[in-house]
Structure formats: C-alpha cells, structure tokens
C-alpha cells in the first residue's frame, strides 16, 4: 500500500503538523511517500525519513512557494498517479483542507477531514473524526478505493522510526488555469508560535480589561514557548487580530495545555478548546462557566495571578 503524504511548507521549513501526517501514514503500515512543494530546507526534508517516510519527493520550483489551492491539487494528484498511491494523508489547515477537497474530487476518492485516530481495518476502512466542533465524534467507513484523509492535530504521535533519506526531485506539470487565483501579497506574524500548531496556548478574554495589558499574556507565552489566543469579544473589539480568535467560529486548538485568563467560557469558546489535553482557567468570578470545563482553576484576579504564575514557571525552566 503506497500512501502519499503532503508536506506543508512554513517559511521554507516543514510545518510541524506535517510530521504528524508522516507518523500517521507510517503507523498505518504503508509505504510512505512524502511530497513537498516550493523551496524548502534540504536537511528537514531528508529528516522526514527519520519520522517514517521511505521516499521524499520535492518539487522545488519557487513558483510553488505560495500555496495556490488548484495548483497544489493538480500536482498532488499527478504525484499520486505516478507513485501508484491510493491514499493521501495531510494535515488539516487553511491550505491542506481546501486542497484535500479538490484532490478527492479529481480522483473520485472517499474524503474525510478532522480525523483524530488511526483507521480500523478489521472489516473495511473506518476512521474516527471530530464533529460538532469537537463536541462529538463520528466513525465513518471509507468505501472507495482511493482515499483522502485530513488529520486534526494530535491524530498521531511523532516518533523517530528511521533515519534520514535522500530527496528525489519531482517535476510537476501544471497549466496556467491552475494559477487562476493569483496571490498578490501576504502578511504574517513572524517569529511567533503559530496558534493552530502550538503545544501550549495562553488566551486572554475581556477580563484582561484592554489591549494594553496583553504584555502579561505575551510574556508568559514567551516563557512557555506558547502561542497567544483570545476570546471572540476581544478580537471583535480589535484588541487582538482575528487570527488569534479561539472558538466555534475562530481557530480550533488542540494543545497539551490551554491557559485561559479572564475568559468566562461561553459554549462557543469551549467548542474551540475542548480538544485540549489540559485546561487551566484563571478568572476573578468563581462562578464562571469555564471552570466546569477546566482541569485546574484559580479563582483570582488575573493581574495578581499572572505575574506570580510567570515567576513560578520561570523558576521551573
């Protein structure tokens, strides 16, 4: 069984979540072929062998640096044909998921995204996926020969199972129509830990009283190597950018540790964090609904607790 894994690019490096896709495909017991597009760090591509890839294809053309949905779908589809792969595994993201959709339509494949566990193959091919924004799960059976699987974060554990391998150049044929959407520019927060990939997230809500107090959140996040997030009201009021909004209609996160400061815990916010392994809630109001969804709670003033927490964590590091 040949499984193609799409390796997403982040500023010329391999996106962390793509390693989970490699680990997932390896754990499925297949022959794992990784495909990377755009200019990327050669050492990182070689290292994909360490995580389970048996072949690494690299389409290094700089015109693939920007993620054009149609072009990526065309290239991935032709790589699957060339490598005789029936299954595509990728990590769900703002690029991966739309690309998965088009690849599945090109191949007439069974398509499922938000997958959280390895398939059960005892009878058929059954995967477990998250639905209702993490409030429930569905087990679905994929019945077509070709399959496209989008993974939610933490669907597989990244492990060292092999050693680095050579990278094989891959030349892809694309047509002008694949570039019908033209990316004119982009803006990106640099140097920060990306929220959807972060292992630790520190989020602030209205209880932070204003954007001028975000230094407390940011400095704690920095010490923890965490990403910063916020509640919907905070992004609606413009205290923080929209891409930091965690919740039902914002970013859904699945970190090891989620620290919520001054967020009351509306059900829409909980929907974005309920896949977190451990939730800490700090809120002045001991009756805040978020405490019911938390593992650990402190009923206290954020402006008093946050600096102490920061000191205690600094001491630990």
């Amino acid at each position: 069984m040949n499984i193609l894994v799409f390796i997403e690019r982040a500023e010329g490096t391999v996106k962390k979540n793509s390693l989970e896709a490699v680990a997932y495909a390896h754990a499925m017991g297949g022959n794992v072929i990784a495909l990377a597009l755009g200019e990327m760090d050669e050492q990182e591509l070689k290292a994909l062998g360490t995580y389970g890839a048996s072949k690494v294809l690299h389409g290094a053309d700089p015109k693939f640096n920007a993620g054009v949905i149609q072009a990526y779908a065309t290239i991935i589809t032709s790589a699957m044909t060339q490598e005789n792969a029936d299954i595509l595994v990728l990590s769900d993201s703002s690029l991966g998921t739309p690309v998965a959709a088009r690849v599945a339509a090109k191949l007439d494949a069974s398509l499922v995204t938000n997958v959280i566990a390895l398939p059960e193959t005892a009878s058929g091919f059954v995967v477990k996926r998250s639905i209702y924004t993490g409030k429930a799960f569905a087990k679905v059976s994929l019945t077509k020969v070709k399959k496209v699987i989008g993974l939610k974060k933490n669907a597989a554990e990244v492990k060292e199972v092999g050693s680095p391998i050579e990278v094989t150049p891959f030349s892809a044929t694309v047509s002008d129509s694949d570039f019908a959407t033209r990316i004119t520019s982009s803006e990106k927060a640099t140097g920060d830990v990306l929220l959807p990939e972060a292992n630790i997230v520190v989020s602030g809500g209205r209880g932070m009283k204003g954007p001028e107090h975000w230094g407390l959140i940011e400095s704690l996040a920095k010490t923890l190597g965490a990403a910063t997030g916020c509640s919907k009201p905070v992004s609606d009021m413009g205290w923080r950018p929209h891409h930091e909004h965690v919740g039902q209609t914002g970013v859904k996160v699945a970190p090891q540790l989620y620290i919520a400061v001054g967020i009351s815990g509306a059900i829409q916010h909980l929907a974005g964090v309920n896949s977190s392994k451990c939730i800490v809630v700090i809120n002045k109001d001991a009756d805040a609904p978020f405490f019911k969804a938390a593992d650990y709670g402190i009923a206290g003033d954020a402006f008093d607790v946050l600096p102490k927490l920061h000191e205690a964590i600094k001491a630990l590091k």
Partner: protein, 245 residues
Amino acid sequence: MKILVCISHVPDTTSKINFTDNNTRFDSTGVQFIIGPYDDYALARAVELKESMGASVTVINVGLADTEPTIRKALAIGADDAIRVNAEPTDSWFVAAQIAAQAKEGGYDLILMGRESIDYNGGVVHGIVGEMLGMPSVSPVMKLDLVGNTAKLAREIEGGKEYLEVNLPFVAGCQEPIAEWKIPNMRGIMSARTKPLKVVEPASVDSGVKLQQFELPPPKGAVKMIPADQVQELVNLLKNEAKVL
C-alpha cells in the same frame, strides 16, 4: 450578476449534542436550528453585493422539508429565490455533488458558502464544488470585493492573511469579517413568504463515505481549584500530575 449562496441548516451554536437510535442519528429534541454561522456571513456579503452593484441571489440547501424555515429566513435576509434539494445532507461529498448538479445549469458568476458547516466541520464542500464545476475555489475568505470581472480577496492563513485576485466565476468559502450578519426586517419576513422556493429531487451520488456510529466524549472530571495565593501549587500539578510542562 448571478450569485448562488449555499446554506446549511445546523443546530444553534449553544446546542447540547445528543444522539438516538443506538448512536446513529442526531437527536434534534429541543434543538433550535439556524443558518450555518459561516454561511450566514456568505449570505450577508451576497446581499451587500446585490444592494451595491445589482445581482440576483439564489440560496440552495440540501435538506428535507424541515429545513424550509431556515431557507425562508435566508429569503427574508435578502435572497431572491431558493432551491431545496430534497435529501438528507449525509456528508460533504453528497452535498457538494448536489450543489454542483444544480449550479451547472444556473450560470452563476459567484458561488458563496461558509468555510465549513458547524455540524460536520468538513471544510471541503467549496473545493469539491469548484473542482466539479471546473472553477477556482478559495477558502477561508475574510474579504471579498469586486472590481469589474475581478474579485479581490483576503484569505486567512495560520498567523496572518493572504491577498488574492481571481476572475469570475469562482467558489468561495467565507468567514468573518467578510460582512456583518443581517437580521431580517418585517418587510423581508413578509416578502419571503411569497418568494419562489423550488424543491428538486437529488441526483444519484456515491459519496464513498458511510456513517457507522456517533460517539460523545467521556465526561470531564471535576475541576481542581487552587487558592489564588498558591500559584506554585498549580505549577507543581501541571508538571507532576498533568505532565504538560
């Protein structure tokens, strides 16, 4: 200009999720259904475009007769007519194939929908529809402006945004802040009653995805409260008990 807006009929965001029939059916007892919040943004932007530059707005929903109040709400918000594909929306592929089948004949310049429905969260219907119709697809779109035949878009990416241009026709999966949600006014509600709502039977489709069973997450254990003056204790617990530091 002709705009098609695809809407899902989904449980209100505050709904408690439960299942029946040995965990194979969604339990709609006591659940309030709404236009998918992301679809609602797409609809609002379509109505804005109609108001600012003239367009006809058709809404399409794949659903059984119980979705008609949701469709009427979309008509009250400002859509001109509606299509209901009379079938249960079992999965993304099925829904996308039905939308593509209807859109093929429609000659739409713009096909808008939410980035994902909030029930199955697939986030793929726009891509499948685009591929099936041979149109570009872009998602998640947070800004959409038209200059002649060209759309200028902003797409959210992890940690930022990307600006794009694409010519009509194309498919977009939308999200905030593309437009402000519109609340239907009395005139809209009255006129929605008589706007055309066409019911069509579904095309035969093999989606290749079959539901086996739903599951609910295990109940959460009780929260451990730590006094505000013992922050060190929290750090110890995170390190030694939860093992997340």
